[in-house]
């Protein structure tokens, strides 16, 4: 009787060869914590497509934007932990937005793998003539109105920290998504802006200059510029990493199989995902996964809690 049910046949096919590797029993819902058309979305859709081609798993990407990934995370935590619902967001979704949040906590999720990280920079147009943060501060003190383009609370707070450190006035300009800040800068709506990585080609072409790095290390794109931590502006960086997560309680088997599959795509330099990541978020893919990733996020959470306390 069972043999006549096509489903079983289909499932048997899906399971593939005999070795007992984990495989999803049905289609994977791949949720994207940001809106359509942005860096996360582009990356996630390329990844979904190549993962499907690589493993034969059926993957259906869907955007669930809002709250810097938190809206998606709040829904993800209620899904069954069978590896059939995954969500791509950034580390701050889990190690910053969870602080004081009633809906989500860091323990609600299984962390699978990182995919890439930002190159967070303070940017100015080359025609401003500024070569360093000091030049900008001098200009501000001699009467230039500083309009600083950002895309969210965390980076806006970062701009405010710079302003407070140097005793200057800053006007904030909020846009949607990382590219909006670059656009505002280029369109002369702003004269300073944050860049998460997209700025690379513009910096290389000499359109924009990097004034400082907001990562813990100097940027690949401008290795000679100091970090904001070196300058004493802030204690931790503002950079972010993309993190793929599932609901809590996923089996280690499922988690590691998915992570390994993603790493296989990221390690193939010819894959669309790897190409995009390398271009947008140099130097290239990040592959911290599983327990190491969980430990790192928890460590971040503790230092972010300290930061929040400090600022308050």
């Amino acid at each position: 009787m069972r043999l006549f049910i096509p489903v079983i046949a289909a499932l048997a096919l899906l399971a593939g060869p005999a070795h007992a590797e984990w495989a999803p029993k049905g289609p994977i819902k791949f949720w994207i914590g940001f809106g359509a058309g942005g860096g996360t979305d582009t990356q996630a859709r390329a990844l979904a497509e190549e993962l499907e081609a690589l493993k034969g798993w059926r993957i259906i990407p869907e955007n669930k934007a809002g709250g810097g990934g938190a809206v998606m995370a709040a829904q993800l935590k209620n899904e069954p932990a069978d590896g059939q619902t995954l969500g791509l967001a950034i580390n701050t979704t889990f190690d910053f937005a969870t602080i004081g949040n009633e809906n989500i906590s860091i323990d609600d999720f299984t962390y699978i793998t990182m995919t890439a990280g930002s190159q967070m920079a303070v940017l100015a147009r080359a025609d401003s003539g500024w070569k360093s943060l000091d030049d900008m501060v001098k200009a501000a003190k001699s009467g230039t109105k500083i309009v600083w383009a950002n895309w969210g609370n965390q980076v806006q707070a970062g701009a405010e920290m710079v302003a407070r450190h140097y005793g200057i006035e800053v006007n904030h300009l909020r846009g949607k998504g990382g590219k909006s800040a670059i656009n505002a800068l280029v369109a002369k709506d702003a004269n300073v802006g944050w860049g998460g990585g997209v700025q690379g080609p513009l910096v290389a072409a000499g359109e924009l200059v990097i004034l400082a790095s907001a990562e813990p290390k100097p940027l690949v794109q401008a290795p000679d510029q100091p970090t904001l931590i070196d300058l004493g502006v802030m204690e931790t960086g503002l950079g972010f990493q993309f993190v793929l997560a599932g609901p809590k309680g996923m089996s280690a088997d499922a988690r590691d199989t998915i992570a390994a599959a993603i790493h296989e795509v990221l390690k193939n330099p010819e894959s669309k995902t790897a190409k995009f990541v390398t271009k947008q978020y140099p130097p290239g893919p990040l592959m911290t996964a599983g327990d190491a990733l969980t430990a790192q996020l928890k460590k971040n959470l503790e230092s972010n809690k300290e930061l929040v306390k400090l600022v308050k």
């Binding site: 058309g37 829904q75 369109a187 513009l202 072409a205």
Partner: protein, 526 residues
Amino acid sequence: MELVLEYVIRGIADVFTTSSGAFDWMPLVMVVAGLFIGIIVGATPGLNGPFAMALSLPVLIWVFGVSDDALLPILGFLIGLMKGATVGGAVPAILFNTPGTPDAYLTTLDGHPMAAKGEGPKALKVAHISSVCGDTFSDMALFLTAPVLAVLIESVLDLPEKAALIILSLSFMAAVAGNSPIKGLTVGVLGMLLALMGTTLSGNGPRMTFGIAELGNGLPLSSAILGVLIVGEVFLGIEEAARERLSKDGPKSAPALGDNHFRWADFKRIFPNILSSSVIGTAIGALPGIGTTLAATLGYDFAKRTSKTPEKFGTGIPEGVAATEAANSSVSGANLIPVMSLGIPGNFAAVFIILAVESVGDFTLGPHVFRFTEIKEIEGYGTIINKDLVVAFAMFTLMVIANVCNWTLGGVVMRSLGVLARVPKSIMLPVVLLITLTAVYAQDGGFIAIWVVMIFGLIGYTLRRLDISILPFVIGFLLSPRLEELVRGGYSASGGDPLFLLKSPIALAFLVASVLIVYFATRKAS
């Protein structure tokens, strides 16, 4: 000037190329398809342009996706649909004396008597010529006015003034439709309030969601708007159909045809009416909230009053058909003036253009569109350019293409639709409901979208039954997030002055004007 030309050329080129530079025939095909389907929709009693735009939007998004490359085919189809429906609306009015839309009622006054005299085909030719003339005139007004107005507005209006302008347009819309301007304004504010669910700027987590995680990013925009505008109308239609159980009179047999040649002399005869009605329709269209019906009425009245033989109006003369058709067709282009220069839609068709733009690609409408940024090529990044402006010129190009098709082929299509059978509403409306529910489910991800569509449909139904204008509700819902940003930003920028809206003379003037508009409209109503 060279820069302007460069943008115009890039805009035109944008229609025919994909983002990777390959030749792209899709936008062109979609404009033509939209136009023809629009003419058919307009010619079908009971259907109209916005209705078809609403239904096709989710389907178009499925087919083309939401990438930047999807925007022009989708916009092209919607623009074609909008233009086609305006032209097609004259067919049932003239041939069957059944106006599909309220504004086509005035077309029946002279159009149907002409058909009864055996001059049906000629009446259709007159309607077609007048309609495309009016439409083209209106588009020209849009092309010339919108950029100038936008540049003017960008230089004059700051946050408080822009906020006040949105309030003024809402008051205006509330004042011109429905029986009670105060209630219109009330539902406008109600729409605004509902649009605030979910998203916050502060990072304190979602607000006003009753703890429903799916509402974390707000009510799904297109489900809500489709619900109020279309599903509410479907409810009403099904109720009407259930009540009537369908009246069975089909079209009467056509009378013997007389002289149906449309000569140069005929055109010269109706040309003054076309011109005056085009001006009237364009002016009306540029104001938010006033629809085609008023334009048609004013156009017809003006033609009648300035005529040497006013008594002949209503007996079946081409002037009557020309005056109404030119007037109601010249509304559609001008309606995009407030959309493109302010980001404020003035009618349903414009709402769906905005909705398409919001859902697809990263193009946004508003005065910032017409900023002429210097163009530079950057290796590995692409071109530094105001992409919005390129898209705007591409949109204008699509409109011109639609007009050219309309001039050449539109009349032929239109005249061939006289045989169009009546589609029974009792089958069509439930099917439309099923398609809509399927569409929003896939687009907005889940049953939550279906509940939103049904609940907003109920809101739309109730407002219509209570004789309250739904346009302010929809526009309020659409513009609320922007108004919140403007008010919050304006308040902060004023250094925390609670009266910041009243400190700017322009903003104050706008607010006083909104109060006066509502006051006088209320007095007139009661």
